[in-house]
Assembly symmetry: C2
Homo-oligomer: 378 residues x 2
């Protein structure tokens, strides 16, 4: 179940659909699933030290190969001893390939069947990525889990464009897998996950899930969601694709999203999440709490000596009041994003802890009801 | 030696001049002197959590009554239970009166013999401060040590202006002391320090030191230095004023400065320092190290896998390389000022630890020579 490099997924509870519990073993440690991976795009989870992340209960981080390839470049990170040494994070790291970033770029981009050419926004350099070069970058980064290059057509793209992107994504996945296996597969210390695309078309999604499942990837992701579609459309896609993925492999829902999304996706069999929501919203003054969203910039908090969340055990909630946080924000102090991010990341991680506990105790539906009540759009 | 509120200064070693070692007891704990107080102007040492400060060895923090009076206001901080509770710092806090800030303001300001009227830069409100109202604000803040209101004339002011400011500062000090004693003096849990002004005129400084020493303040500060004058002028002032201050009371050199300043001032009998240098320079990419100043933005550090300072024991130096810090700066990541500030504050605190140890061991001149060699302007 665990290979010689330390990689493997162990399904402890559940099956192809419905809430599951598992252990994702990696060369840098074991992750309990369902889990939330804080996002450290540029080799740093914004505003937080690795130690603060560890203390908040983070086990898996997500970094971005696309961004790191431009700055500081894969060569430097390789020379530093890999991403773990470079950023001082000893736990597991998953790197996104950057497909999503490339296809979100404004301006010059040319995609053909072999890869994609574009100007990097950081420095204007003309770059070319293909399914194998993207893997090579992630090999240099030395992440525990690499992602394939995928093509993500814009949300409203015509059927013909979507169909072509779908075919390319599948053919790129096959090429990536071929290279991955030629290099020794996950035994060399890095797993490779496929990405199931297809927009909000359940048939395309089903076809992608079926095709990719027939290839021996180490895990499976669902991409291109949480890009503006309504929650129901998102859940329809999960219900279409997830049952077709191999039950014994880990499933990762990319870039999603909110407490409500989490419980609904866990309810449908998702194991891993990542999202910038906790850190980005923190910087914008929004805290996720057991009582719902707290907008610290609202005047009502100016004289409040309550913590952000009286039920939270994070450093911020144990030591600081809403009045103090609001003061820091008013003064544009750096400590503001630090303390807010710390809380939000802890909130998301703690929600996942509760999800795991409730699955183990057969009480997941209670947690789901509670979250729907607090966070549901009704 | 220590009053019923816990305040008192205990001179362990040394006399009116020359290197000294002591214990400054306050209601919130004891500070070993010579000591460096990191600056938390707005009730936060920029970019650092109280816990990070504690771990870096900080014992005394400086906050600014002028800034806090405008934002969030003394009433709110009083309601929060005082500055310690508000900002989550359990150790001693010294509050500056804001004299320096008021007299550094561009634009509207009117000073008379009773006080000063000005527009606050944060919100444009017309404010009036006088020697007693400034104390009242600091009483609401609940700092362990309050500072008197002083008038700081600009560096190049004519003799007549300087003379008038000198007289006012002395008369304001007397008024402040009267109020302080009427409220119960340091026994009520807050000490009051006088500020010796007089620019770079040794005679004015001597007169101020003599006059203030005749009044029973709990401690004595030297203000209006490190405002552009050369080091020699600064040292001449220290040599003029310090021997006239009571040996048994603590001496505080305000807003100074650099490693070289520290050893030269300790050599002349200063006990307390504060300065924004470590945190401000950190944000500007400059690290203080045992080898001198490291400008992390310089290209030479791009591929350096050394820590900022191989001799430093701080979290930053134990976990991150110059290459990583430079990458964070390039990406404008919040973690950059956090890690840099952590290091610089630790460097200053550790220098003070070494100063105390070397005084105890009779080896201060060795430390002084080392610092002059590394940091001297020659």
């Amino acid at each position: 179940m665990v290979n010689s490099a330390g990689f493997g997924f162990e399904l402890l509870q559940g099956g192809p659909e419905g809430p599951r519990r598992g252990l994702l073993h990696t060369p840098h440690g074991t992750v309990q699933t369902p889990c939330f991976a804080p996002v450290g795009t540029q080799a740093t989870v914004k505003a937080l030290t690795p130690r603060q992340l560890e203390e908040a209960g983070a086990s898996l981080l997500l970094c971005n190969a696309f961004h790191l390839a431009a700055r500081p470049g894969p060569e430097l990170i390789k020379k530093a001893g890999g991403l773990h040494a470079f950023m001082g994070w000893k736990g597991p790291i998953l790197t996104d390939s950057g497909g999503y970033q490339v296809f979100s770029l404004e301006g010059m981009r040319k995609t053909d069947d072999e890869g994609v050419t574009f100007r990097h926004p950081a420095d204007g350099r003309l770059l070319r990525l293909d399914p194998v070069s993207v893997l090579r970058i992630q090999r240099d980064l030395g992440s525990d889990i690499a992602m394939v290059l995928d093509e993500c057509p814009p949300a409203g793209a015509p059927a013909e464009i979507r169909e072509r992107a779908h075919k390319r994504t599948l053919s790129w996945a096959a090429k990536a897998l071929e290279a991955h296996l030629a290099w020794g597969g996950a035994e060399r210390g890095q797993a490779l996950f496929a990405i199931c695309q297809g927009g909000t078309d359940p048939d395309l999604r089903r076809e992608a899930a079926r095709e990719l499942s027939s290839m021996p990837f180490d895990g499976y992701a669902l991409g291109g969601l949480s890009v503006g579609e309504p929650l129901e459309a998102r859940l329809e896609i999960l219900e279409a694709a997830i049952p077709l993925l191999p039950a014994g492999k880990v499933r990762y829902l990319m870039g999603v999203g909110t407490p409500l999304d989490f419980v609904e996706a866990v309810a449908r069999g998702v194991d891993i999440f990542d999202c910038v929501t906790p850190t980005r919203n923190a910087r914008n003054g929004q805290a996720f709490t057991s009582g719902g969203l707290v907008k610290i910039r609202n005047a009502e908090h100016a004289g409040s000596f309550l913590p952000l969340d009286p039920e939270c055990d994070c450093y911020t909630c144990r030591n600081f009041t809403r009045a103090y946080l609001r003061h820091l924000d008013k003064c544009r102090e750096i400590l503001f994003p630090v303390l807010m991010s710390l809380h939000n990341v802890r909130f998301f991680l703690s929600l996942m802890e509760r999800a795991r506990d409730s699955i183990r105790e057969g009480a997941f539906q209670d947690l789901r009801r509670e979250i729907v009540k607090t966070w549901g759009e009704s």
